[in-house]
Homo-oligomer: 445 residues x 4
């Protein structure tokens, strides 16, 4: 069931890194790197390594279906893959292949490799989405919009601040994932029980070279049953999905017919409805939300799989594989949808201003009157009257002698002007943009 | 990533019902059934229906990849599928196709149809697993084994009771799933917003016929955003996975080297280890546990997707699809592994008896002495001495005048005989077997 | 942390059934019922039972804190509770107390008893919420409102249909919970390992009487490690929370400032904001959503706890207790909030009509024109023009000769009238109300 | 339901930081710090601040129940708390109290403060547990034990390596939590919609001072609806629970009657069973597992709550509170149990050696023979014969001329000696201990 819903769950370049072929490629890369590391430390002949490298060159030549099904009797796809590779090897190379390793070493290292490779397009899409938010923030510093709390209008914000808040979320998620990509994806090499006994004294050196060869982190100990690395990766992906969900939830709310402050552009046929030709469905945001919906359960799966037995788990480890790859695919798909959606967002600044209920300025007038229960009570009454009788709030306020004395018509007008009641919105936008540029700078990546 | 781990997650005939082709087949079946129902109620010409049926005959002729990707712009695969079908239709049939329906009607009905079709092999595998448990229960009524609480030995049970307990769990899960298959998988037909407005007065009649045609339940109302049906299906699958996990956890514990009371038979290469040739890994049970590990998170995903907006949700519904199909696939795979594993279970009755620590009979002696704190204290002391000095518990007990008077050597021997301290184990086995036969009987299915 | 957030999570009469005192009460009730059952079957003296009943009369006399803390060394609160009861008993009654049972028997039976007692107020609140939905459905058959899909306006519905859809969800959830209350809450009695060995031949009879005494179901086998009963209860509670979340999500959306079709009434201070005096926050719906947010994770916890070891689990069982009680409390709190919120809902029928975008009637015109691609294209164009130029859709349509010929001005007006394009909305409302009355009728409860 | 299960879920000093009183204390601390910050930046009179500080001095004087219940009408406990404080204030101080803040600012900051305070005892318990693991690692470098994969015996490890692996997990979890405590718990101050409009130009300065006053991090932007901070805290707690679960799962497995390699010491009555006096239940480990069972679902709850609407969420935010506090309580309780359990662990080194199945040395002999298929086949056969006929593996191997030639009796003996086949176990232990000391060093904390 991978193709038919790929428009929702299977988008973005990340998917290519998660195919069967890509996983076989990663397992073969681990075996080749292991052979190389063995040779480096005097445990393999250079010819054997060359033979292995050659035999492992073409991932597509291996039958993923057959190798996968064989996992039913061996518990992992590794033995069947090894058998297939060994068919292409002479005896000395066959004996070198996989030397010192256990199946879990290969699967775990391959998972980390696949994660590393998947994170590249995923991070690129997140960076594009962030860049779009930054562009929106820069463009809409003067675009006043209703703040909304509990889905009720509240004092005004700028659309720039909204975009900056999205940006902040994306940049936090990116930093976390970048950090993991840099040093949170450890190679696995421990042999049958973590002691690397087959490799004698060379074990640690081989493990260290293996990490280098693969571009993975070198952990101080094997982590066969201490699953902090997959847990952290899962959590960071769950966090990224959560941030994308927040943005997309906002997009669907802004796109409501009754709000209509933002819309996904109508590319060829995009978001249309056969029965409702005028409709512009927020399909990009919906696809992100659909992916994000599935994140927390997958993170929980990987966390609950941490209770692993002894030196290799009976079930919990094996349950991790699919969950982790799925999480990578969903996060990648969501990032791709979001990166595609944000640049084509049509923001209706005029509508934002029009939608603003003047009553949200009550807080501003209370503040102008110096706060306090009296002012609060006065405003509450004026707001209620304005709502029920449809009279302007300003007129009602000026009926109060106290207001007339303290603010006067000009003061009331100022206090009721949303554009004058934006607090530090602009400075917050500056901060988010500055952070963003820092995240992007080479020194930080 | 469907093939490479299929030995763990992708086993059983259920997988064939969950392929892209199977989902396209189901969507086409819904469209054909809808056209048929329209015709039945005077809303379509018989020729148009025949044309539609013909155009929908070959699910394999449709390009799942292209249809899936098109979901990115329309939000579901339905519009692209309809376009592909319409290419094969003349105008009148093209206008009849999908009449009155919305995309969600097709996807939801297809999901229920796929669920229904998947449940057949899944239930068959569960039935086979249950039959194996029943056979074990029948065969091992006299096989005494240690009960174990908190992984500590406790008073004896029979292996029959253990198997009967497994059986009970499987039969509960099967009954639940059978019930849902019988009337818990509703057709969806509501049109754009649930009113079936396009179909005028005929809406309810068409919906009812559609349900009949597809063999799905006819719900009183459309359920576009009241997702009780998928939630119940998910819960029942989660329950089935939980029951299978309990059995498999027990199997892995019984198979431990130090316990060795049961083992998965060594079929050709099954459960072997390349580095540990003598090892017999409980790979069947491990595969079940790996699938089960992923169940609760998926159920949570589907439950959390219940908070759907208005007449069609923006994200939560779309997130359900993948999670539900995955859950079906995992439950089916687990059932297949379990059904394969249980019949080949090698039970070592002698080892069960040998493993029994005599001290677990302390409770029996306390009971023979009539309970009470005094007896309890006496036994606690004797047990401790026996454990530390290695002397038989019976000898130590007979040092007490009270024990000699009240039980005598014969009484002590009887009280220490595990085979005489099995309570109602046999009657419980009878009950589980009787229930099981009831579940199997045609009247109950 | 039970009090400070009780306005959100701790509402309703259900909370009283979930207190420490209530749990001690339930455990004592189980012990008393067990003694009674023992006596019934000749295993206890009537005086001992009377003494036990007397000693267990006042749950408040037991120190929950001390008993709870003692669970750290024994694993459950039962031994400390028994010790406290035994202090009030003479030796024969002390020996009778708890005879044949294991701690898990008491905790599990008490959990089921607490569940049963909690379900009464919970179901009552759900019934009240359902009754409010039914009243809304009856009152608003003529209230036309926009249907909304993906948060975009779609063809019209009636508010009655919306309320009927909510009603349907609540009635499904209620039926499920009622069913469990009637026969899905089993007593637990198995003794140390499920064989009831201490009770000799009388075990099954004692278990059966115990169930009767407590008003719980009598299961064919003990279910110490086959946790279908708690799993089903959790799932049914999760389903109920999901249904309530759907309703509440709709309420928050309808209450949006820009939509304003429904509002929670402003009871004394309810939903107000200190800084925004005019604001009417949908606090009832928000409280429901807050509780519902926590449901899926708790259900997942209980499902993942099903993989229990042998005859008593080491951790998974103990993890269930808190999760199950929390789920009961949250479902009860949500039901209480919803039952309080729905009757005070202020529905603004005029606003519903005003909010309706005339363009949603495009589908109706397409249908009036007989469907087909031509009509669809015509409407799409007219809708676009209407949206961009602000001209009435009807005028634009009548520019087409084809439309003039086939429908004429009258036909166009009819086709554009939302009140004439409601399909079977009214019949669906009838169905939901009929179901509802069936659920309420004594024959169904 | 807080007391009765406190022996399982409610252990450790952390619980005191999570009480109602502690939460009120934290909210009051935020209000006092806010007043202080206002005064620092010229927005409050020093007398008003003193009055506020005085009114907030005694958290116990506020009625948690009443304040909590009031949350039903206001959505948070803050307005009722403010009203109660204001009763103790004159008008100017009353106007200063809470100035510029919104309820969410107070609740979020209080949650972070409570988290910070809870992390102290939690981290202390984790540090104690880690120290115990380090001590075990140091003490058991020579203790040879069976490695176990899929619960089957595998080549040998040392118990030191097992303890070092546990240690590594704990140190990773501690480092993560320490990092969050140092700079991952941000203050919240944004006012109604995040713009701090009430505070004019001073907003950012006040927020910065508030953070300093409370010892919380100062975030660049308010995070009202970008919930990365609670998500990361939840994930780190979930990770810690996962690591503790791994250790505790191992403890329960090692404590099995049939394995008996480690036991929780029998403190007064600890782990005993009333019916099985000799039994030593691993109650400490079980309590940890019970808490850990509940972690993943809570993390999922908090992650799924990230999809928050606009400037303040309607439900998702409010759902976070209870979940986050529960997670803190469970992690703290688990850490307390583990810290109590590990130092009293009785390790039976002799039993570890005795349990070792000689056949696990097959891999070692294969390695000594230079690997390769031939050696593997030879060993597989010898192992099978040894298992079935009960003859020593060494004798069987020496029947092979090839083995005699290449290894000789001495070589075979060496190859079969577990103590000579431990690979880099000792170096891995060194690494874990070195890391541990680094984590403990002041420079790292």
């Amino acid at each position: 069931m991978t193709e038919i819903f790929s428009g929702i769950y299977g988008r973005g370049a990340v998917q290519g890194e998660l195919s069967d072929a890509a996983f076989i490629r990663a397992m073969l890369d681990v075996e080749v790197a292991l052979a190389t590391a063995l040779e480096r430390h005097g445990l393999a002949h250079v010819e054997a390594v060359a033979e292995i490298r050659d035999a492992c060159r073409d991932a597509g030549a291996f039958d993923a279906g057959a190798i996968g099904r064989a996992g039913a009797s061996s518990g992992t796809p590794v033995p069947a893959l090894l058998a297939a590779v060994r068919e292409r090897l002479g005896e000395p190379a066959a004996a070198t292949l996989h030397r010192g390793a256990t199946s879990q070493d290969i699967v775990d290292s391959a998972l980390m490799l696949v994660a590393r490779r998947s994170l590249a397009p995923l991070l690129s899409d997140l960076a594009n989405a962030a860049a779009s938010c930054a562009a929106l923030a820069r463009a809409h510093r003067k675009t006043v919009a209703a703040g909304r709390t509990l889905l009720q209008q509240a004092p005004p914000v700028t659309f720039a601040l909204k975009a900056a808040t999205w940006l902040r979320g994306l940049d936090l998620a990116r930093t976390q994932l970048e950090g993991l990509r840099a040093d949170g994806l450890p190679v696995q090499l421990g042999g049958a029980v973590g002691t690397l006994a087959v490799l004698g004294d060379a074990g640690l050196a081989v493990a260290s070279t293996l990490a280098e060869e693969l571009g993975l982190a070198a952990p101080p100990l094997p982590w066969h049953t201490v699953r902090v690395a997959p847990a952290r990766l899962a959590c960071a992906l769950g966090e990224a999905l959560g941030v994308m969900a927040k943005i997309s939830r906002d997009l669907t709310l802004l796109a409501q017919t009754e709000v209509a402050e933002a819309a996904e552009a109508a590319a060829a046929g995009r978001g249309g409805s056969s029965t409702l030709p005028h409709k512009r469905n927020p399909v990009g945001a919906v696809a992100v939300l659909a992916c994000a919906q599935r994140g927390p359960g997958l993170v929980a799966t990987i966390l609950s799989a941490m209770a692993q037995e002894h030196e290799r788990a009976a079930g919990a480890w094996q349950g991790e594989w699919g969950a982790l790859l799925e999480l990578l695919g969903l996060a990648g798909s969501a990032a791709s949808s979001l990166a595609e959606t944000l640049p084509m967002l049509e923001v209706d600044s005029a509508r934002m201003r029009d939608n603003l209920d003047p009553l949200v300025m009550a807080e501003s007038v209370v503040a102008a009157l110096g706060g306090g229960t009296g002012a609060r009570r006065l405003l509450a009454e004026a707001a209620r009257t304005s709502a029920s009788e449809g009279r302007p709030l300003g007129d009602l306020l000026l009926e109060s002698a106290d207001v007339r004395d303290r603010l006067g018509p000009d003061g009331v007008e100022k206090a009721l002007d949303p554009a004058r009641y934006l607090g530090v919105a602009d400075q917050l936008v500056d901060r988010a943009l500055a952070e963003h540029e820092g995240v992007l700078s080479p020194g930080r990546r």
